[in-house]
C-alpha cells in the first residue's frame, strides 16, 4: 500500500470510529429519553392508580351503607390497589377481636398473634409483618400455597380508637413506595371518618325521633288535659242540670199519675151526665146533648188518654236522657269496670240522637254474644260519640251510618262506617294528630280524634281508619275483651 493510501486509510478509519462513537452516544441519548419517558409513564400510571383508588374510596365514603359493607369494600379496594393476594378484616371491640372476615380465598386463615393487633390498637399506625416470623404451621402452609411472604396491617380509626384492622397479604415480588402505604392509611382514615359521621347521623336521628315522640306525647297529653278539663266542666254542668231536671220531672211524673186517676173519675162522671141529659127535656139538658154532639166527649176522653200516654213516654225518655247524661258525666273516673260495649253504644246513640236524626239513617248490627270490655264506659262512649258526630258532620246530604260489633281474637271490634264524602290519604295520614282539623275556625278543635286515639290506646286497644273519597269512611276500634 502506498503511503498516500495508508494515510487516507487511517483517516477514514478514524472517521468511522468517530461516527460509530457518535452513533453510540446518540443511541445512548435516545435510550435515556425512552427510559425517562418509560419512567414518567410508569409514574403517571402509578399516580393514576392512586387517584383511582382514592376516588373509589371517596365514592365509598359518600354511600350510605353499614359498617361491614364499608370496611369490606375498603379492604377489597386496598387489596386490588396493592395487588395483594387475599385479605382479612377484623373488628376490634373493647380491645378484643369480635368478628373476622377473609376476602379473596375460601380457606380459613389462621389468626395472627394477638400482640400484633394490640400493637396496632395501641400505636394507631400501620405495620408490616414478615410472615416467616410467625411460627404457625398453618400460616406457613397458606404462605406456600398462595406464595405470600408478608402482611400489611392497616388500622381504621373511629372516635379516636382503632375499630378495625385490615390485613393485606402480599407476595414477595411486589414492591412499592412508602407513600403508597400512606395512601392506604389516608383512605382508611377517610373510611373511619365516614363511620364516625354515620354513627353521629344515627345518633342525631335517634335523638330527633325521641324528641319528636316526646313532643307528640306532650301535645297529646296537653290535648287530653284540655279535653278532660272541658269534659269535667261539662260533666259537672250535666250532673247539675240532671239533678235540677230530676226534681220537676219527679213531681210532674207523680202528678201525672194523679191526673190520670182524676181524668178517669171525670170521664165516668161525664158518662152519667150524658145519660141524664138524654133523658131530660130541660134547656140545660138540650144544650149538654148539643155540646156532646159537636165536641164528641168520647173522642176527647180517649184523646186525653192518648195525650197522657204520650206525655208519659216523653217523661220516661227525659228520665232516660238524664240518666245517660249522668253516666256520661262520670267520664274521668279513675276506677275501671267491665261494661257491655253494645249497651255503651246504645246509650251514646241516645245522647247524640238529636244531632243525627234528621240526616242519618242508622243501621245497627251488634254481636249477640254481647262483648264485655273493661274500662271507662263514659270514655268509650265519648269515642263513639265523636265518630258518630264526625260522620254526620261529614255528610253533605242525608246518609247512612252502619255501626256493628263483633268478637274477634280476644278483642271486641267496633266498626263505624258512614256513606259521607270520605277523605284523601293526606288527611287520613294526619287524622289522629292533635290539633289537626278540616273544619273551619270555631267549628272544631282538632282534638276529638286525637283524644279518641289516646282513650282507645289507654284501654289497650287500637283504632284505625280506612277512607275512600266519595264513598265513605270506616273506623275500626278494637278493645280487649274481659277474659272469661
Amino acid at each position: 500500500m502506498s503511503d498516500a493510501y495508508k494515510v487516507a486509510y487511517d483517516r477514514e478509519k478514524l472517521a468511522r470510529l468517530a461516527a460509530e462513537k457518535l452513533l453510540d452516544e446518540k443511541t445512548r441519548e435516545v435510550q435515556s429519553s425512552i427510559d425517562m419517558i418509560q419512567h414518567q409513564f410508569n409514574d403517571l400510571m402509578a399516580q393514576k392508580k392512586e387517584a383511582d383508588y382514592l376516588l373509589e374510596i371517596a365514592r365509598l365514603t359518600q354511600v350510605d351503607q353499614g359498617l361491614s359493607e364499608s370496611v369490606s369494600d375498603y379492604t377489597t379496594k386496598s387489596m386490588k390497589f396493592l395487588n395483594a393476594k387475599f385479605s382479612r378484616y377484623s373488628f376490634i371491640k373493647n380491645g378484643k377481636i369480635s368478628v373476622s372476615n377473609v376476602i379473596g380465598i375460601d380457606e380459613a386463615l389462621p389468626a395472627l398473634p394477638i400482640n400484633m393487633y394490640q400493637e396496632i390498637y395501641r400505636k394507631h399506625d400501620r405495620s408490616t409483618v414478615m410472615l416467616d416470623d410467625i411460627d404457625y404451621q398453618d400460616m406457613t402452609k397458606i404462605c406456600e400455597i398462595y406464595d405470600v411472604n408478608r402482611v400489611i396491617l392497616l388500622p381504621i380509626k373511629c372516635f379516636g380508637k382503632v375499630s378495625t384492622v385490615c390485613e393485606l397479604y402480599l407476595p414477595e415480588e411486589i414492591d412499592f413506595k412508602p407513600e403508597t402505604l400512606d395512601q392506604c392509611q389516608v383512605a382508611g382514615y377517610q373510611v373511619g371518618g365516614m363511620l364516625e359521621r354515620n354513627a353521629n347521623n344515627k345518633k342525631i336521628e335517634d335523638s330527633y325521633l325521641e324528641i319528636k315522640s316526646s313532643h307528640d306525647k306532650i301535645k297529646q297529653a296537653q290535648a287530653q288535659l284540655v279535653q278532660s278539663e272541658k269534659m269535667a266542666s261539662l260533666g259537672q254542668l250535666a250532673a247539675g242540670v240532671a239533678h235540677e231536671i230530676n226534681n220537676p220531672i219527679g213531681f210532674v211524673s207523680s202528678n201525672f199519675g194523679t191526673l190520670r186517676e182524676y181524668t178517669d173519675i171525670i170521664a165516668e162522671y161525664f158518662k152519667l151526665a150524658e145519660t141524664l141529659a138524654a133523658d131530660s127535656d130541660s134547656d140545660v139538658s138540650k144544650k149538654m146533648v148539643e155540646m156532646d154532639e159537636s165536641e164528641d166527649f168520647t173522642f176527647l176522653f180517649s184523646d186525653i188518654k192518648n195525650i197522657m200516654n204520650d206525655c208519659d213516654d216523653g217523661l220516661k225518655r227525659v228520665k232516660e236522657i238524664v240518666l245517660n247524661l249522668k253516666s256520661f258525666a262520670r267520664g274521668d273516673e279513675e276506677t275501671t269496670e267491665a261494661f257491655s260495649l253494645n249497651n255503651c253504644i246504645e246509650n251514646t246513640i241516645k245522647v247524640v240522637w238529636n244531632e243525627l236524626k234528621y240526616k242519618v239513617t242508622l243501621h245497627k248490627e251488634f254481636d249477640e254474644a254481647n262483648p264485655i270490655v273493661n274500662g271507662h264506659e263514659g270514655q268509650i262512649g265519648q269515642v263513639i260519640m265523636n265518630m258518630l258526630v264526625n260522620a254526620a258532620q261529614a255528610m253533605e246530604v242525608e246518609g247512612h251510618i252502619y255501626i256493628s260489633t263483633i268478637k274477634q281474637d280476644g278483642f271486641a271490634r267496633l266498626i263505624i262506617r258512614d256513606t259521607a264524602k270520605g277523605m284523601p290519604q293526606s288527611v287520613v295520614d294526619k287524622i289522629f294528630d292533635p290539633f289537626y282539623t278540616t273544619k273551619g275556625v270555631n267549628e272544631g278543635t282538632g282534638l276529638g280524634l286525637s283524644i279518641s286515639h289516646g282513650i282507645v290506646e289507654k284501654h289497650g286497644g287500637k283504632i284505625s281508619v280506612e277512607s275512600e273519597e266519595g264513598v265513605g269512611t270506616s273506623f275500626m276500634i278494637d278493645i280487649p275483651l274481659v277474659s272469661d
Binding site: M1, L17, E20, L23, D24, T27, R28, Q31, D35
Partner: protein, 180 residues
C-alpha cells in the same frame, strides 16, 4: 458476536502483523459477512472462531495464547470506545463488581440483541477473590486476556489460577485471582 469485536481483531492484526495478513485471513476464512464489520451489528459466532483459528495457524501461535493476547488487546480497545466513566474506576476489582450492573447493562441499552457473557467477582480480601465466567461461546482465554488488559489499564498486575473450566465440562469457569 458484536461487530466491535471483529473491529478489535482487525486492529489487533494490523498492530501485531500487517494489512496483508488481515486481508489474507479474511480471504482464507470464507466468511458470510465478507469481512465487512460494523461495530453495532451482530455477526455469526463461527466467524470469530474461524478467524482466530486461522490467524493463530498463520502466525504459528497456540490458539489459547493467541486468544489471551487478543483479550488483553481487546480490553484497551473496548475501554476507549465505552463510556468515559469505565476508564475512571480506581481498580479492576471495582470494574468487575460493576461489570454486569453498569457495563453490560449499557451494552444492552444500545444493542438490545447483544449477547453478553456473565462475569461475577466474589472478593475474599481486598486484593483476592474468585471470578466466574459463563458464556455460550466458552471464550475463557479471551476472558483471561481481558482481565490482564484491565489490570494493566488500572496500573495493577494480576495472577490468575484457572481452577475450573467449561471446556472440562464445568458449568462455568472459575479463577482465583490476586491483584498486586
Amino acid at each position: 458476536m458484536q461487530g466491535i469485536i471483529f473491529n478489535a481483531l482487525e486492529e489487533f492484526v494490523l498492530e501485531t502483523a500487517d494489512m496483508e495478513v488481515w486481508n489474507a485471513l479474511l480471504e482464507s476464512s470464507n466468511l458470510e459477512s465478507g469481512g465487512v464489520y460494523t461495530s453495532g451489528v451482530s455477526y455469526d459466532d463461527a466467524e470469530i472462531v474461524s478467524l482466530a483459528t486461522n490467524l493463530c495457524e498463520k502466525l504459528g501461535v497456540p490458539l489459547t495464547d493467541g486468544l489471551r493476547l487478543f483479550g488483553e488487546f481487546l480490553f484497551g480497545f473496548l475501554i476507549s470506545r465505552g463510556p468515559i466513566e469505565l476508564a475512571m474506576y480506581p481498580n479492576t476489582q471495582t470494574l468487575l463488581q460493576n461489570l454486569e450492573s453498569v457495563v453490560h447493562r449499557d451494552v444492552k441499552r444500545i444493542h438490545p440483541d447483544a449477547y453478553t457473557p456473565l462475569f461475577e467477582y466474589f472478593p475474599t480480601t481486598e486484593h483476592e477473590g474468585e471470578l466466574t465466567y459463563l458464556s455460550k461461546r466458552k471464550l475463557c482465554f479471551i476472558a483471561e486476556g481481558l482481565l490482564q488488559g484491565a489490570a494493566k489499564h488500572y496500573g495493577q498486575s494480576v495472577e490468575m489460577h484457572h481452577s475450573q473450566c467449561m471446556h472440562d465440562g464445568a458449568e462455568n469457569c472459575r479463577w482465583n485471582v490476586t491483584f498486586t
